[in-house]
Subunit: 214 residues, 2 copies
């Protein structure tokens, strides 16, 4: 392990090892960014988490902003891109929304820090406008997906609704981010699976049978 703390210093690792180390840094950085926030997440803290030296981190990432941008990109790929891909296999609006949710829940089972990071990154992008410039906005990614699913449903004549489509999209985006907030900061993975099942029922209008009040 050429990049663990030792008297040898960083050196140049073989390609496979380098990719693995890079992955390890990104995973540790995601955890540290979401736990401590952008300002408090030093390369030192990330190195400690990854069991590497601080210069080793610098060998792969020139600065914190570049590292943060890549964590954003990877996390969006893990959650948003996976959700979008999964939704392609579904054929109805609710089916697509649910497929997206299932993929997001699966990403949560693989790396519990993803949801927390995504929520924290939205807060950070308000605190640090320069982070917004680096693109890969998860909020916009989720909005684009929901807008696509709703528009497909309208085109296919599947969805008949009198409502304002823009507000419908925004509401669904808010609901999805509520699930992400829950995954990142409230419940464990099993609870997330169970509330996702409840949300599916709500989206299908099968959550409850309400009797009129007397």
């Amino acid at each position: 392990m050429p990049h663990t703390a030792s008297r040898r210093g960083p050196g140049r690792p073989p390609a496979a090892k380098a990719a693995e180390t890079r992955e390890r840094i990104l995973r540790s950085a995601r955890q540290v960014f979401s736990e401590l926030g952008y300002d408090a997440a030093t390369f030192q803290a990330i190195a400690l988490r990854a069991d590497l030296t601080r210069p080793a981190i610098n060998h792969y990432f020139p600065n914190k902003r570049a590292l943060f941008a890549e964590v954003v990109e990877r996390t969006n790929a893990l959650v948003i891109a996976a959700g979008v891909e999964r939704a392609q296999t579904a054929t109805t609006l609710v089916g697509r929304l649910e497929a997206f949710l299932v993929a997001a829940v699966q990403a949560d089972s693989e790396d519990r820090s993803a949801a927390a990071f995504m929520v924290a990154a939205v807060l950070e992008s308000q605190r640090h406008p320069e982070l917004r410039q680096d693109g890969n906005d998860a909020l916009q990614g989720s909005r684009d997906f929901v807008a696509w699913a709703v528009n497909e449903a309208i085109k296919a004549g599947e969805l008949t609704t009198d409502t304002d489509v823009t507000s419908l999209v925004e509401m669904l985006v808010a609901v999805f981010w509520g699930m992400g907030f829950y995954a990142g900061f409230v419940g464990d993975h099993e609870q997330l699976e169970r509330i996702t099942d409840q949300l599916k029922l709500l989206l299908e209008h099968r959550l409850w049978r309400l009797k009129p009040a007397k």
Copy 2:
């Protein structure tokens, strides 16, 4: 204005003025905590926002933790307690959930920093476990409210559902916090009102009429 920056120093203001100044500090602190995060929110930054001196803040609050705890308490009263009170006037489950949402949206129109602060406070309480000990957990407050509304509906025979009540409550909590996240970090007040209308339709199972896919 005895507490604005001047050579006089803090002094002891008359009671009405003191209450007003205290209010001003709390409001500025809420903004600064949610914008900068707990660590970066210094008394200096809060004083600047409130147009007061740093010693003036100290005159009212011994330390940051005490100030933060009071902002949490006030914000929960503004949003959660107002929502709970409003819900008492409704008689059905969906009516109660909607009344809570309306009160929260109204709180948002009065002070746009409330929702952002509540979401940020959940993140902060994970970063700083000592803040959790100070109680007034908004997450638990929202959960208690939803659990009450669901249980009332079950007792009244209004709700017939085969679903797991605990997961139903958690799902609704996640949805509500999604609205809070949206209010604090995504949309403006008008958008919040419009997505809340969409959410009401979803809760009433009136959001869309889905035709079966061919």
